[in-house]
Symmetry: C2
Subunit: 479 residues, 2 copies
């Protein structure tokens, strides 16, 4: 934590888990955001922004107990203790927090989106295709790929049950990641209805919805704790030994590292049992998964990029249909995108019957992956300046400022080194920032109404008449 030192100044620092993004990093982040935005708009998504602060009650209880603890709460202004029985509440910090904090920082973009839909349903045209690119905050323990401030980029289509939407989102993921140089991704897909069909077959554990929860929470950990770990956890959650033994085909399909939809027939056979009959949920899941793959392929997604993973569960409880997760196979990073269909997300805000489907790009992890794989375009630069002007003496200054105006008027990004003098410092400045050209004004140049333009890459220098400078630069950089 920053503090005022004895020298009387404030020690500068930033909170753990947050970052400053200097010009080079901003060029990289902007590149990623703009590629994604390009596909969002090409796919007809409309932009929404919601406030960083939400009413605490809007967020509480939407992300599970763990989530509630990770929400950043904002202290009420003024006499925040007025009317609070703090002595009694001191033994119960969460209860006190809710009394002294009416607002909190956005935890994701999905709940604010649902809140917005519930508040504005009457004014909106459905199906509503919205995108949103904003930071979110979580009081999580910082570690690799996990920050306390990070950006989400979400695209959702709400107000239709059509599976074309799932296909479109898979196509969106594929196109955006391909353009980012990450075609080595796997878009993993499963259906919550298939998980329900599995849970229906299981003996032991709790009934109905709770059994599904217990089951999905256990198999969701397969990547982390392995088959034995999941079997142990299922046993602890009360599932019978015969159930666990019977789950062999599920684990085996995973161990085989099936590609595309190769694992689907085996899983459907397993779920059909000895009677050879698929349950209602099983049938719906099969239809969903096949239709989504069909639309995705029609939209140009290679069939091996979309992989059916029967153990994919995703933590969030609001998903009801297809669920997605994107991983890169080129480096260890966990998921870099995810999403799914929800049938009643806005129900928590009193608006029932709004089915939707969405995906979220994890910008910070994507940036980390591009950095690790050294896959940012080489053209990204901290500055957009094309030419730096420099006056060798005071007389050159006015002429330089004049030419500066002329260049900018011609839409050429230009700046002037603000202090006239020997060129050494100006050239070093241009070199460090990667500025391609330096224009020098001395008495000789002024007498000839010309500018000495140094090409910083080629190392050459040419005398160019003032009237030709803009055309000369445009030609050089093909503006």
């Amino acid at each position: 934590m920053a503090s005022t030192s004895q020298a009387g100044y404030t020690q500068p620092g930033i909170p753990r888990g947050t970052r400053d993004f200097g010009p080079t990093q901003m060029a990289q982040r902007t590149y990623v955001l703009e590629v994604i935005r390009k596909y969002f708009t090409r796919f007809g998504f409309q932009q929404l922004e919601t406030p960083a602060m939400e009413n605490l009650a809007v967020l509480t209880g939407k992300y599970g107990e763990e989530g509630d603890r990770l929400i950043y709460k904002i202290l009420n202004s003024g006499n925040f203790l007025d009317g609070v029985n703090y002595a009694e509440l001191a033994i119960n910090p969460p209860a006190l927090a809710a009394q002294i904090c009416d607002r909190a920082l956005r935890y994701d973009l999905t709940v604010p989106f649902a809140r917005y839909i519930a508040m504005n349903a009457g004014k909106l045209t459905f199906p509503f295709r919205r995108y949103q690119m904003q930071p979110v905050w979580r009081a999580d323990r910082p570690q690799k790929g996990r920050y306390r401030e990070f950006w989400q980029c979400d695209a959702d289509i709400i107000g239709t049950e059509s599976l074309i939407c799932e296909g479109e989102l898979v196509s969106l993921l594929w196109q955006a990641f391909s353009e980012l140089g990450l075609s080595g991704i796997e878009i993993r897909v499963n259906s919550r209805k298939l998980l329900s069909a599995m849970a229906e077959r299981l003996e032991g554990g709790a009934d109905g919805q709770n059994r599904l929860q217990d089951f999905t929470q256990a198999i969701d950990k397969l990547d982390k704790i392995g088959r034995e770990g999941v079997e142990k956890e299922l046993r602890e959650r009360g599932f019978s030994d015969s159930t666990i033994t019977g789950m062999g085909p599920l684990f085996e399909s995973q161990e085989k590292k099936a590609t595309g939809y190769d694992a689907l027939p085996g899983i459907l056979r397993w779920l059909s049992g000895t009677a050879g009959v698929l349950s209602e949920n099983g049938k719906l899941a099969e239809k969903e998964l096949l239709e989504v793959a069909h639309y995705a392929q029609t939209l140009g997604v290679p069939s091996n990029a979309l992989v059916f993973v029967p153990t994919l569960a995703r933590g969030l409880s609001y998903y009801t249909g297809c669920i997605f997760e994107v991983v890169t196979l080129e480096t260890e990073m966990g998921s870099i995108s995810g999403g799914g269909r929800y049938d009643n997300l806005t129900g928590i805000f009193g608006l029932e019957g709004m089915s939707g489907v969405g995906v979220s790009f994890g910008i910070d992890r994507i940036c980390d992956v591009l950095e690790t794989l050294n896959r940012y375009p080489a053209t990204l630069k901290a500055t957009s300046t094309t030419i730096l002007l420099h006056a060798l003496d005071g007389d050159g200054l006015n002429v330089a400022v004049n030419q500066l105006a002329m260049l900018r008027h011609n839409h050429i990004a230009a700046e002037i080194y603000p202090e006239p003098g020997k060129p050494k410092r100006a050239l070093s400045y241009a070199d460090k920032l990667g500025i391609g050209f330096v224009g020098l004004f001395g008495s000789e140049e002024i007498a000839k109404e010309s500018l000495s333009i140094k090409d910083m890459v080629a190392g050459t220098q040419e005398l160019v008449p003032f009237a030709d400078v803009a055309a000369f630069i445009k030609e050089k950089v093909r503006l």
Copy 2:
């Protein structure tokens, strides 16, 4: 405040002073931000982003007592009361707040910028031209043009004392506002050194720096409380009657509504007194003001757009040279931009001797002004979609999805109405969103391998072969 209702769902709402920005407003805000960004980059500014959360100690004491109260503090996670003597501190909420909140929300972009410079000075190339476009938060009373979450767009040049920089920033303001259709602005300029020269002439009040503070804080209110109000306040702050009477020329120059630099000679005469000698501060101020006007004009700013206003003071205490404020004369809105030169902003973080100058665009007020004056471009739309495809029956669906992929592959923003059927709903959807073209697929169209394209503005309909659809649309919208 939102709360969980008896029906079991959360009442949706947003905190007072914050806003959701739906697609139409986002199109407007993006337009404003991108115009400003265009000039930021054309002028060679490099982008910086800092975290929304700063350590509380970084912000405390930097904005005056009033500012400290308006900073949003973030409650520490977990057992935030551990080690806090809350019973004793209950009588002193600010002291308790500092114990249970280590972090706070960014209040402006200037202090985080100074903090960043102090932390990264060794790695940066100076002069450093940085721009930053991010929201800030203040627990202010919401009213017209004042929000609790609002965006600032700042451009600063730090590490040089050259007055070319002031000239460049005036040119930046002029060019950006002109392109936004707000050439009816007045860029007001004064110099803190001129205010010092004035304060030196005054009798009464406190000594030195405090006298300057008292004086500037009083005349800063001239617009709000008028000449009599300021005279009363000066008297209350201990200035002598003869001083106040002697300030006639200052008030009179304002009452005359001088244009350009018309008021400067009179003020300089007044400050030179009967002896006809200008103080050191007076001389420096004169030089500053004249040089800035010279550079601004060389850079193309009309001389009547830059107005010398001797009573312009600006609240913030860190300014040391020229100060700026932009007002529009076309509607009542207060200042829509402001800035100035600071000689030691980073000194509070232990880095001395870094002179800089910057301006800040108040995006939310600029948007309010454009809205009031109805001056947004008519072309701004909520959606970027050029064509909506619609299948009249299930058979058309696959063909439609195929054509959808083709259009997007041709960089045409396209979407499909996800449910096949009679065209009424799809046409109404396109109409409401302002989508220019609707492509219909029925059995007739499929048989002819063509698409019926309806021009929603002209009301015409044409049958276009699949192979020509992309070229047809590009021709129509001149892509």
